[in-house]
């Protein structure tokens, strides 16, 4: 199923572009490390988003030109970034006050598993040998107004990532609002997973078969 999944549906860039369409102008946004970072490249013209990075910057800009960066101006992924005009620096307690206090409009995260009740698992497989590391994920999902997940629909082994109930350790309970995969856009509602949009050429049944809990049509 792996190759099959990789061949159809949106590319990563297209997933990011689709997600970016749903972010209103003027939103304060925190993008997780990895695929979520792609979203910033696809914000529609005429919209301005303000990016928050939890290590203490509001108004994060793109990567610096080679050699022009400052090793002390980095994002949460510890990569060098820039600051836009109108940016502000602050300390970690203030930064997480923004997160926990509900001031960030949207956070986009990757996922290992998302359950149909909105539970998220994205920090640990719970395996004995693993080094546990959680970072800011638990604070983000607990505090940010909307939390979107962007992820491949299934694992590399072809297992659904959208599940009835997470088997990996949770990051947060009932925290996810919407999931963007290469196959579809899916809302978490009180009734469970609900289809918002199919990727071009992908059928409802195709997505439904690869989803580990009932998928409702709109």
């Amino acid at each position: 199923m792996t190759t099959e999944t990789a061949q159809i549906g949106w590319t990563r860039d297209q997933m990011a572009r689709r997600l970016a369409l749903d972010i209103p102008n003027g939103s304060y946004v925190n993008l997780g490390i990895g695929i979520p970072e792609l979203v910033a490249r696809f914000v529609p013209e005429g919209r301005t988003l303000i990016y928050h990075t939890e290590n203490g910057l509001l108004g994060m800009g793109p990567s610096p030109a080679p050699g022009a960066g400052d090793p002390e101006l980095i994002n949460a992924g510890k990569r060098q970034v820039t600051a836009i005009p109108g940016a502000a620096y602050f300390h970690h307690a203030d930064s997480f006050a923004m997160i926990r206090g509900g001031h960030i409009d949207l956070c986009v995260l990757g996922a290992m598993q998302v359950a149909c009740n909105g539970d998220l698992a994205n920090w640990s497989t719970g395996e004995p040998g693993a080094i546990p590391a959680v970072g800011g994920a638990m604070d983000l999902v607990a505090g940010v107004k909307s939390v979107f997940v962007i992820t491949q629909h299934c694992t590399k082994e072809g297992e659904p990532k959208l599940v009835e109930r997470c088997t990996y350790p949770l990051t947060g309970r009932a925290v996810i609002n919407r999931v963007y995969t290469e196959l579809a856009v899916i809302d978490i509602t009180p009734r469970g997973f609900e289809l918002v949009e199919l990727s071009p050429g992908v059928s409802f049944e195709y997505v439904s078969e690869r989803t580990g809990a009932p998928l409702l049509r709109l």
Partner: protein, 236 residues
């Protein structure tokens, strides 16, 4: 393009409804957003709950808002100052409710509201009448009171300078409650002496990041409460 500028104080406070909870910055006259308060008087909202460290002086600003009987309740640490007659008068007549909060607890409850901390423990007021009815707990052998966050529908704040993103810097001890009230209100409205272009405030020196601010309004020459009081002024 982010632009949080609004035309004037009247527009800035136009949608504050009857019964709203409003945080009003300032410690005495320092940081008191007098033009926003006067606009709120003109606007006419009633039955307000006001969270502010003091209750104003003379017959202008916050005291004038109280005098106009727009305020049902104040949450406050020190409602009694020199030249403060409006609140004592209303309070003795039973026409205004008072929740008295120690100043540091007031500040921390507001900060907690902005930071998403629903409750915290503080040593202040243990063993005093202000501890009555509050849960307490002992940590490491010392007793603390449980205090709840304070949040508001609106905050009226005075800064020195802002940009269109809502980044704010303050003037000296007028900073006081502004930064934390901006965090704790759903709609934070800031009057400033001047509005500049984004980038003109050094990002290292921003005190209130724009994420906490919804509207900025320029009041180039704000009135000084003490001068008005000395001149015997009243509003409206």
């Amino acid at each position: 393009m982010i632009d949080k500028r609004v035309q004037g104080p009247a527009q800035a406070v136009a949608d504050i409804p009857d019964g709203a909870t409003v945080m009003i910055g300032g410690f005495g006259e320092a940081g008191s957003p007098i033009e926003l308060i006067h606009a709120l008087i003109d606007q006419g909202a009633r039955g307000l709950t006001v969270i502010s460290n003091n209750t104003g002086s003379g017959e202008v600003g916050l005291a004038a808002l109280l005098r106009a009987e727009r305020v049902a309740k104040v949450v406050c640490s020190f409602p009694r100052t020199a030249n403060s007659t409006v609140f004592p008068d209303l309070y003795r007549k039973g026409r205004i409710e008072l929740e008295l909060v120690p100043q540091g607890t007031l500040a921390e409850r507001i900060r907690a509201g902005g930071a998403g901390i629903p409750a915290f423990y503080t040593p202040a007021a243990v063993g005093t009448p202000l501890a009555e009815g509050k849960p307490s707990q002992t940590f490491d052998g010392k007793e603390y009171l449980l205090e709840r966050w304070l949040r508001a529908d609106f905050a009226l704040i005075k800064g020195r300078c802002a940009d269109a993103h809502g980044n704010v810097v303050y003037n000296k001890t007028a900073r006081n409650f502004g930064p934390i009230m901006a965090m704790a209100a759903n709609v934070a409205i800031v009057q400033v002496n001047s509005i500049v272009q984004p980038g003109q405030i050094d990002p290292e020196t921003v005190v209130t990041p724009g994420i906490f601010v919804d509207r900025v309004v320029e009041v180039a020459q704000p009135l000084h409460e003490s001068e008005l009081v000395a001149a015997g002024a009243s509003y409206p």
